[in-house]
């Protein structure tokens, strides 16, 4: 019962009173959907007649970037859309648990008589925040697709993918395919895990440094296509479903799950011994 009360409190104060965050998620998604519609127009102008789908729109937003091969003639360009989808959430979820712990949360903690429930509630809040944020983006893309007459299905148009992400055809794993739902969900799961990781990191280092660490991890994933760089699992086009040399999303699921469980357990242990001080 105490957990439900804590969670209700966190949902009220950490989600429902942060409408601006979700308004920003909507704006981000709307801008990229509009951008996607422009790329569809360009695609059609090239004489292509194949239909595009909701899946292509999601791929446009969550695709990430093609493998970067460093060379003097190939400067590294940040995957702006992908970064603008993932990093704002990390920033928005950065301060709430930390601030709560140093203010009203102290009153809550001494009344719950334990630290575990507080941590569990904050982890659940973190998961819900991430899911809600990406839910807004997915929903915006879905409504946009409906309004634009774009087919609501999971078929990926590989020609359009090549055009949007500048991928050479010989690097692609297959032709037009219907993507499994799992492939669309993994970036969201990775986002959940990475946010939890960030929250745990805040118990060891200052929140700002925690955010910078996560940002660095994500950006270095964009730089390096490797199964060990977790950010790759948040880029759908780096999946082995799309690229021959892509990362395996099944392994990605295990890594994301491991990151999630480790972050939860490390955070729980750390918080058990954590000094709740006014850091200011």
């Amino acid at each position: 019962m105490k957990y439900i009360k804590l969670l209700k409190f966190d949902i009220q104060n950490g989600i429902l009173k942060k409408q601006k965050v979700y308004a920003i998620a909507f704006i981000i998604a709307a801008v990229f959907c509009f951008d996607f519609s422009n790329s569809v127009k360009i695609f059609k102008l090239t004489g292509q007649n194949q239909s595009v789908s909701f899946a292509d729109c999601i791929l446009y937003i969550y695709g990430g970037m093609r493998e970067y091969i460093p060379s003097p003639t190939n400067p590294f360009v940040f995957p702006v859309i992908w970064v603008l989808v993932f990093l704002p959430l990390c920033f928005f979820t950065l301060n709430y648990p930390y601030q709560d712990m140093q203010s009203f949360g102290q009153q809550v903690l001494i009344r719950t008589k334990g630290r575990f429930l507080w941590w569990l509630s904050k982890c659940t809040w973190n998961i819900l925040s991430s899911c809600f944020y990406h839910g807004v983006i997915y929903l915006t893309a879905f409504i946009f697709s409906l309004l634009s007459g774009i087919g609501i299905n999971r078929n990926i148009n590989m020609e359009m993918l090549q055009l949007n992400f500048q991928i050479k055809p010989e690097l692609l794993a297959a032709g037009n395919i219907s993507f499994p739902i799992f492939a669309f969900l993994l970036p969201v799961l990775l986002s959940v895990a990475i946010n939890l990781f960030q929250m745990t990191l805040c118990l060891f280092i200052k929140p700002l440094f925690s955010f910078l660490t996560v940002a660095l991890l994500m950006l270095s994933s964009a730089y390096l296509l490797s199964p060990w760089m977790v950010g790759n699992y948040a880029m759908i086009i780096r999946s082995d479903l799309v690229l021959k040399k892509g990362v395996n999303f099944n392994i990605g699921f295990i890594i994301v799950l491991a990151l999630f469980v480790l972050s939860f357990i490390c955070g729980m242990i750390r918080f058990h011994y954590y000094d709740i001080l006014n850091r200011d």
Binding site: F9, I276, L277
Partner: protein, 218 residues
């Protein structure tokens, strides 16, 4: 009966000693005053007793239970530390109701009675963010005492309060003593501390340098 036993407690934070060799025994029905300049370790000692931080050395027992091992927090404690912090968009009553709903020890009428006792209007819809500093402090005191906890910790309870507010704090402290609570307070105003406390611990640079037992008429 509540009993706090602090044995040879020390605390280091980022390599600095903030408390060292603290030995204190406290019993219910008494008010213990902590005196000392800023940075002397008063608030840190209060945080240790409340379980928010853990000692680097030594141990704290509350009713025979080792804090941090047998119990994470004292079984019954009310706390006002430094500046009170509540939810901005809630009224005073809503804030207290939210807190009291965790333990469900008191009902709405008791929350309202506590608000009246600290001089706040229990039916006011005014949001916490619009409270004056004095009102915030009164609400902080109300949160600390509303559930009649066995241990009451008040860090600078007279901060931001006018003369009537200070009188009110004194009345509340007496009330807590009468109901046999163990009260720990810190206050910059030595006269208030001497008037209210049964025992005073003087802290300097994280150590107790003097322990005074004050004779009271009652």
């Amino acid at each position: 009966m509540t009993h706090i036993e602090i044995q040879n407690v020390g605390k280091m934070i980022h390599g600095s000693t903030v408390l060292k060799g603290i030995n204190v025994s406290m019993h219910s029905g008494k008010i213990y005053g902590l005196q000392g300049i800023n940075g002397s370790g008063k608030t840190m000692l209060m945080r240790l007793i409340s379980g928010l931080i853990r000692p680097t050395e030594g141990k704290i027992e509350i009713d025979g239970k080792l804090l941090g091992k047998d119990i994470t927090f004292p079984a019954s404690i009310g706390l006002l530390l430094e500046n009170p912090a509540f939810l901005d968009s809630y009224s005073g009553f809503q804030n207290l109701k939210m807190l009291s709903s965790i333990q469900q020890r008191i009902d709405d009428s008791q929350i309202k009675d506590t608000l009246v006792s600290v001089g706040l209007d229990p039916d006011s819809k005014k949001k916490y963010r619009k409270y004056s500093l004095g009102m915030k402090q009164r609400l902080g005191i109300a949160a600390a005492v509303m559930e009649n906890p066995g241990i009451v910790i008040l860090d600078e309870p007279t901060n931001s309060l006018d003369t009537s507010g200070v009188k009110l704090v004194k009345a509340i402290l007496n009330m807590q003593k009468k109901r046999n609570a163990l009260v720990v307070i810190s206050c910059h105003d030595l006269s208030i501390l001497q008037e209210m406390s049964d025992e005073i611990f003087l802290l300097e640079a994280g150590r107790i340098v003097n322990h005074m037992v004050l004779e009271k008429d009652n």
